[in-house]
């Protein structure tokens, strides 16, 4: 049945706002439970290499120290991103994937273990170490497999991505306060530069992936793609194996010509079949997720043209498949992994985030033209995990003050996300998703804390309102 625009566009936006909200909610819960007034023990991370904030320092000292920390952090992030771009450029994909797998396992097992132990201590749950070890190893291993290596239920993959985002964000909230805020602003600025400037690493990554027509190794959350039309059934057993759900990106200015470069990609021909032979349902199926996917990779909102201009605000990425050697080993969510320390983690995540290309599609919107273009107006939305993390860090830090700031920052971030989507519709190129949300979030936090909070608290204590 035909769905209206509102349902489809709304459905996709919900598909990306929900996991962001869930991640933020989980981080707020963790922060509220475990470290309601900031972390008592200072966590030694790269972000605090230069200056370790003490509560007694003066305002100027804290500011300068925080600024230094943030600059160092951004430099390290940039470095690691360039390294990753280099690895991608020289096609060390195996190396990248092993690195990513290892990092994700570290995040899930080590950080996850520490958070779990803190929670167990808080609630005094009598678990013994054997059970705990088994559960943790299971959780981490299946998580790594779900995100990187295997085809798993989509909810599982999405859930694990949200959990990874939550763990890294919770770790970042352990930084001291001034450093955190300055870091957020610095990351937003870095985001703009890295994506929009021609020499920026993320921009280069996007260009590389477009030029090569390959997957970007990146940590990307992908909402469930919505099918455009009724599928009748899988092809018979002997015919085709399930195509790998790799993500293909292409520039909107270089729309893929059906027939060009098809020789090596089975998926393309399948997509071709999709559009040239409308009446053959079987060819539709060789291309699971058929719907174009909206991409907001990482800090990039990639815009694409929707079909018939309907879905202009969201970028579409056709999940093409390549004739890969291994079916199980798919880059469904190729991932930039985190390093064993937080900064490189963030670097990697951030770097890869922007790797979102969007499926360039011709505007004409006619369905037969481009692959994925007119594949129905609905598609999955993708958002890079770095965005999840920094949004959650902002909200987590706001939770350390009061829940009022949490609400204000949450609304600001979601509003910023919506605004970025609109900008995406207008500009139709890779856009950073961090700056608007972070700016609004920071502004709202300070406004709420300095102006709204005393106002409301005074009114309440004097029993005037509320």
């Amino acid at each position: 049945m035909e769905k209206g625009i509102l349902e489809m566009v709304g459905g996709e936006i919900i598909g990306i706002v929900s996991p962001v909200s869930i991640c933020m909610l989980l981080v707020v819960l963790l922060v509220h439970t475990l470290t309601p007034h900031g972390s008592s023990t200072s966590v030694a991370t790269i972000a605090m290499m230069i200056y370790n904030e003490q509560p007694n320092d003066s305002f100027v000292e804290k500011f300068k120290g925080g600024l230094l920390n943030a600059i160092v952090f951004v430099c390290i992030v940039m470095l690691v991103t360039f390294v990753l771009v280099g690895l991608f450029y020289f096609r060390f994909t195996k190396c990248l994937r092993v690195y990513m797998g290892f990092s994700a396992f570290t995040v899930l097992a080590w950080m996850g273990g520490i958070v779990a132990v803190e929670l167990i201590q808080f609630f005094s749950i009598p678990i013994d170490i054997i059970t705990f070890a088994i559960c943790l190893v299971n959780f981490a291993s299946v998580g790594v497999m779900a995100v990187f290596f295997c085809r798993m239920p989509i909810v599982l993959t999405q859930g694990y991505l949200v959990v990874i985002g939550m763990l890294v964000a919770f770790w970042f909230t352990k930084l001291p306060e001034w450093t955190t805020w300055i870091l957020l602003v610095a990351m937003a600025i870095y985001d703009i530069v890295a994506v929009l400037a021609p020499g920026g690493p993320l921009n280069m990554l996007v260009e590389l992936a477009i030029a090569r027509d390959e997957d970007i190794p990146a940590l990307i959350y992908e909402a469930r793609p919505v099918l455009p039309r009724q599928i009748s059934g899988p092809p018979p057993m002997s015919s085709s194996p399930t195509p790998a759900r790799t993500r293909r990106w292409s520039n909107r200015r270089a729309p893929r010509n059906p027939g060009v470069g098809r020789g090596n990609s089975g998926s393309n021909s399948a997509l071709d079949n999709l559009w040239t032979s409308n009446g053959q349902p079987t060819s539709l199926i060789t291309e699971p997720p058929l719907a174009p996917e909206v991409g907001i990779i990482g800090s990039r909102l990639v815009s694409s043209t929707g079909d018939a201009g309907m879905l202009n605000s969201i970028s579409t990425v056709v999940a093409g498949h390549q004739a890969t050697e291994s079916n199980v080993d798919e880059d469904t969510v190729p991932l930039v992994s985190h390093g064993t320390n937080n900064s490189s983690t963030a670097a990697a995540l951030d770097g890869m985030e922007s790797g979102m290309h969007f499926q360039g599609s011709d505007q004409g919107g006619s369905e037969s033209e481009d692959e994925g273009l007119g594949l129905g107006v609905s598609g999955a939305v993708k958002l890079g995990l770095g965005d999840f993390i920094f949004y959650s860090v902002l909200v987590g830090r706001a939770a350390m003050y009061d829940l009022m700031t949490v609400y204000a920052c949450y609304l600001a971030i979601i509003g910023g996300l919506g605004a970025t989507l609109i900008l995406l519709a207008v500009w139709r190129r890779a856009l950073p998703a961090l700056p608007i949300s972070i700016t609004l979030g920071v502004v709202f936090y300070f406004l709420t804390r300095l102006i709204l909070d005393p106002f409301v608290v005074d009114l309440a204590t004097h029993l005037i309102v509320f």
Binding site: N138, P153, N327
Partner: protein, 134 residues
């Protein structure tokens, strides 16, 4: 339900699954993801690898196997190739969880009385106090 191939329930159509008219009780999509999941040989390979992977002390893989191929479990005649592995994974998962749960509950409720001084050595928060960050 399996004996009536042409019946389609509301739930089935909602998920895009309609029992095929031509073959009795056959299943359209073996995974819960429907058309977005794996099918055909891919599915068999995946089920097999999950089954063997679970023996590496990873019962969660067995659970994921059952969860992912839930439609295969539901329809008794569907996809015999996949069903072998999924059923065995299900049995393994249930067995392992029973054992694990029994042990965990014994530990939790037994406490000091049952284990004596060993209880302190095993409980997580005590270990964390001893070895964890100060």
């Amino acid at each position: 339900m399996e004996g009536e191939p042409v019946q389609t329930t509301a739930a089935d159509t909602e998920w895009g699954r309609q029992t095929d008219v031509s073959s009795a009780g056959s299943l359209q999509w073996p995974t819960i993801d429907g058309p977005l999941g794996v099918y055909n040989e891919e599915a068999v390979k995946l089920a097999k690898s999950f089954y063997y992977g679970g023996f590496l002390l990873l019962p969660l893989l067995w659970f994921v196997n059952c969860f992912y191929f839930w439609p295969v479990l539901q329809h008794r005649e569907a996809e015999p190739l996949i069903r072998r592995y999924v059923v065995k994974s299900g049995i393994g998962c249930v067995l392992f969880s029973v054992v694990l749960l029994a042990w965990a509950l014994t530990f939790a409720f037994g406490g000091e009385r049952l284990f004596g001084s060993y209880w302190k050595h095993l409980a997580i928060f005590d270990i964390d106090d001893k070895y964890g960050p100060a």
